[in-house]
Symmetry: D2
Subunit: 279 residues, 4 copies
């Protein structure tokens, strides 16, 4: 038996689950697990893991499904590509990048890191240890648009499915984001929506919070406002300076980014409006 | 539309999910959520929430299901009783009992507390505030068997579906447990299986742990070894004496017991071997 | 030997700790624990627990200290009153109030609850179980000022040292707050500074957060912006409606409020600017 | 001004804190922070951070302290070496080792990693990226004693102050441990004392726990029973196989080991009996 994954989302309708289970049953498949979610505004989202004979024709399964669920508003996908092609954008901080490179190096990332792009060359020596192309694309003497153009040209070489902003410290324009709609994952160093924007740990210190956090989210046109994938926190106290928070926060950041990417790369994250549904 | 719950568990077989979704579809029902689990040793467990017409005959649904799933090894239940009838056993400590009485008082417990039984009368004045019968069944001058007999006679008045041991500090005999197999929930004041038995906080202190915990579990014949429902923890440090741990641990205990009972009373907890499956 | 507590805060200066330890040594006292904090802007804060002979004259210790530390900018207090006198303000929700009443009932609160004041009479039957005066001070047909005047008149009967807002759902005016500067503790049902203001769980749902929280803080003139005492969080996912978050959040709220009050009532919380220092 | 650290532990006696503050005051030093702990059985432990003039003679400070505190039972140390010399022992798993190498590479470890020693050569290619000597000391065809002898000979080259067992999967003999008494830190992949010994995740799965954990501890002669430095946990549910727990547990292990080492290398961890005191 071979394992397959079926992803499905679109407007809710009667019989969707029944039709899926019927097609799988008729194709001699066995459901291993099935998770679904229906949003209050009527979006149906389902993720099904099933086993079929070695000889199973998944295109036929898809056709059978489409026969019973003709609405084109409903997306149906079987067996999305396993290892996503990814380019990482970074600036000077290493902790998130290093975490991802280590996982990639030991085949634990569920993704191929095709390249690292940075507006500084600080991290080049480190990245070179892992035999991954490093592109230094400085923003100096460039307008924001020129800089993004230069990055986009670099990305075109690799055609990544996802961009990961591993502490990439520049705001992206809507035009840039549009090239990778719903395919850019960022790690923000605060418990969003608290402390949007620059220097969140400084903001956190000034506010005297007792917990700091980090948020992995998709990037949309509004800074730090895209759909949240994962969040995590850590207790702090009055002894923490803003610098202490920043240093300790790095561990939270790298772990929550890894956790979010694991979910995204395993096709467990669906975007619905400004929220994520994780199945 | 009316909401219903279908619970199902037994040996896994082909087509179980399909047959359920088919029956629900044929009865014009709409699945709201469906969670299932198949254990490595082949136990199928499923919890389905669905909506049907006001006129839906759930007995017919059950009959239809039984028609397609004839194996008697598979349990099928629709709409288990909503408010479980419960008796609480306590000793002298109030924190878990009070938490449950407060929730019951404000109709947040998903259960009817029929009575409180205790081997001390310490908590009688408190329980009386809530107009709940309090039975003082002392263990003094009684053998263990005589004491349990006395408790059983008291329980017979109430015919509870579940017993909750809210810091009831006496070990129950297998004979007693057999009367309420899989229907006794205990709170143990340690992160099981660490610190089984008496004085777990003293044990925790002696071992120098940096985290303490509490465990809510079903009671079976081996002390502190029944299926675990919920666990929770709290950081401690070298400044905590065993007494400090005991005091601070009470908050963990009462919250984890409440959380476990919420799951149990909402028919979300299935027992399989020595493990719980929570859907 | 008798245990004593010395609290001290003011502008940092050379020899403060030395002078304190010298006076205690000269008075044959033994330091049990001593915690101090110096803020980046030079505020010195220290909490010392020490033991002395039964015959120790703490007024003499205070005089000795004042002799060596003459600056009036430095506050020195020995043995603040143990059980603080407290009035609780509530509205309709019971969970925080009940948690405090239970702890008070079993002598675990480190405070005397003198009365409960509410702008609704919903909780009166519950409060009456605990033989605590309940004052129903409706806001209907009153201006905000008139309503606060009525509450202040009620408070005057009790002369509380602290007010606890146990889900009191009305904004207090600066004039009211000034009567109890740094002596009002509020529980806000969000992880401040996220979701300031009304309906934080609705805001949290709309933002699609994966963690909700609660914040206990002192009240100052800006709504939800006073010094934070304690915060706590809970994981949520896409299945949580705003109502689910509100319901589950109650457990976080009541526990974090209890935790904060324990610190405040044990004289462990110092306010410095908009931050708390907890020793 | 220069910052210094004073460490002190031994039997409690009257005036210890006073004498320290007096010496520091007399030497024109300013205490930045001072934490102390007195155990129930009378062990006094204190960590003091203080500032002194550039010209401060710390040997004189030590002499002055010794003059006032003559008991040789009391250890006094000023300014322990900042970067500890460390050798890491590993087997085949990379996650803890990689975490430490990354931190070392970016100068965030508070230690010098002098070498990695492993009973397998699996991790050699990875370690070589960081220009750190890798010693493959196989246990094959050797008695336990012969193997440990071979490791000890390798360690003699480096004279490390601490050994870190980064998932080193062999039990050490008392004779080996005696060479590095209180200087070996191990990461155990369970929430000790639960699941001592082999295959703790398999044990955790079989017991049906809802939380898994990891424990960093000093190694003494009894397997998994040395003083605990740090512990951390992660929620799991019935969907986790033992293999899932092992995979997810790795993140907990590497973070808790890093956290423990940070404390140890910063001279914040004192051992008293079978417990640690962390100041």
């Amino acid at each position: 038996m071979t394992k397959h994954i079926l992803l499905m989302d679109g407007p809710d309708a009667k019989g969707l689950i029944f039709n899926v289970t019927k097609v799988l049953y008729d194709n001699a498949c066995n459901i291993i697990s099935q998770d679904e979610y229906v949003s209050p505004d009527g979006q149906f989202i389902m993720r099904t893991e099933f086993e079929g004979e070695e000889s199973l024709n998944t295109q036929k399964v898809l056709n059978d499904l489409r026969g019973l669920i003709p609405s084109e508003a409903i997306n149906l996908r079987i067996n999305p590509k396993k290892k996503k092609d990814v380019v990482i954008l970074a600036t000077k901080e290493h902790h998130c990048l290093a975490e991802l490179l280590i996982r990639y190096n030991f085949d634990e990332l569920d993704a191929n890191i095709l390249a690292v792009v940075s507006n500084y060359n600080t991290l080049q020596p480190f990245v070179s240890k892992f035999s991954i192309p490093f592109h230094y694309v400085t923003h100096e003497h460039k307008t924001r648009e020129e800089h993004e153009e230069a990055i986009l040209r670099t990305l075109e070489i690799y055609q990544p499915e996802y961009l990961v902003l591993a502490k990439y410290m520049r705001v992206l324009t809507p035009s840039f984001v549009a090239h990778y709609a719903n395919r850019i994952v960022n790690i923000h160093h605060s418990f969003l929506p608290a402390f949007i924007g620059a220097s969140p740990y400084k903001q956190a210190y000034d506010r005297g919070v007792k917990i700091i956090g980090a948020t992995a989210h998709f990037v949309n046109n509004n800074l730090d406002e895209g759909p949240i994938i994962a969040q995590s926190v850590k207790d702090v106290d009055h002894n923490y300076s803003a610098a202490d928070m920043a240093r300790e926060g790095k561990d939270v950041e790298k772990m929550v980014l890894s956790q979010a990417l694991k979910l995204v790369f395993n096709d467990r994250v669906f975007i619905h409006g400004n929220r994520t549904v994780i199945l």
